[in-house]
Amino acid sequence: MSVLRVMGWSLGLASLAGGALWLAETVNPPLVDVASAGTDPAPSAGAAPGLNAPVIAAVPADADLETRLSRLEALMHTLGQQLDAQQRNASRSHEELARLVRALEQQRGAGSTVASDDAGANEEPPSPEAEQAAAEVRVALLDRQARTERTDPRWSGPATAQIQAVFAEGGLAGSTLRNAACQTTLCRVEVDHRDALALDRFLGEFSARLGWNTHSYAQTLTHEDGSATLVLYLSREGYRLPRAGA
């Protein structure tokens, strides 16, 4: 049982008890009050010894008792209704409290999402110039590695042949292999593409045709006539391409 419900019940029962006491005092005042209300009357003739007349006079008649009982019942009924109303109020307060708690939790959740998004919003995307500069750094690093790395004869030859074989199969229409060279941990591949469609087809299918599990990087140079040259760097399986600052 909730605290609010217990409080409601307590309040209602206290009101009921208070109301009953008030009613009892109203409809049946204490004998002492009756006695103090007037002078001591003389004992009535025929009165039993030890009994005063006012005491006898305070005893109501049957009809009067019934009236008072009816009033008491009506009062009890009213108090019962008030108690029900208070219970309903307490229940509504409880629901309202639960609703507020839920709203607070949702607000807190939304606040954390906003905070997370804000953190991202503070990040500015790099400018095209910055992107270009980063790409040039990356390509220079990869080209340096491709030039300076020694050749692993166990892998270099077969890997280069595999790349050449993909083009020899003829499935990459519009793409022509210009050069392929593999060293110990990476290959550098230059491919000319007739147009953007051929380049897109190459990007979609070359990996599947080659079948290597590889780390790769590529840079595309688009020419004025719509053709493009792609320089593709592929790592040997189990290796990763070098990164600037790594």
Binding site: E105, R108, G109, G111, S112, T113, A115, S116, A119, G120, A121, E123, E124, P125, P126, P128, E131, A134, A135, E169, D200, L203, G204, E205, S207, A208, G211, W212, N213, T214, H215, S216, Y217, A218, Q219, L241, R243, A244, G245, A246
Partner: protein, 175 residues
């Protein structure tokens, strides 16, 4: 420490937990149905009632599978910490075509940051296999990620047509 102090401490701890943003390392998944054909004239494919994207033609289908990016900041070490793609390679016909998926990181200008490629194993099987050679993919601030997958075409064996598919994919970002 009395009970009141303990309750206050517990209350603050709960507030701190409730107020913390979602962990960036939380993994996310999408069904193969999220993938889109790479071409404006794709070979036939369909989405199964189980959310799997299935190549329904005799030739290879290339699809792009988008990845939701949560962590927008970028530095030399963050990006995708790991990713997996669940595929079915049910074709071992001539040259044994594989399901080949490349996880790409691109800049806001569509420039390639870097890519990682993994392929299904040789042979044909209706069982799901996991391609998972996708760890520590770099990122560019505000850029985007996706998988690009090539799915082999159907292989007819007797009266049966074996189809290959993308079942789902999963990724985790680095904070």
């Amino acid at each position: 420490m009395n009970a009141k102090q303990l309750m206050i401490g517990l209350g603050f701890s709960m507030l701190a937990v409730a107020g913390a943003p979602a962990l960036a390392a939380d993994a996310k998944t999408l069904p193969g149905a999220a993938c889109q054909p790479n071409s404006n004239n794709p070979t036939a494919f369909y989405i199964g009632s189980n959310g799997v994207l299935i190549n329904n033609s005799d030739t290879a289908l290339t699809v792009i599978c988008p990845i939701v990016r949560d962590v927008m900041a970028a530095n030399s070490s963050n990006g995708i910490s790991n990713a997996q793609i669940y595929v079915v390679d049910n074709n071992n016909s001539t040259n044994d075509p594989r399901v080949s998926c490349t996880l790409e990181s691109r800049t806001t200008g569509a420039g390639l940051v870097e890519a990682l490629t993994d392929n299904s194993v040789a042979g044909a099987s209706p069982n799901v296999q996991v391609l998972d050679n996708y760890t520590n993919l770099g990122s560019s601030s505000e850029g985007y990620y996706f998988f690009r997958c090539t799915i082999p075409g159907n292989q007819t064996v007797g009266a049966q047509i074996n189809r290959s598919s993308i079942v789902m994919y999963r990724w985790s970002e680095t904070d």
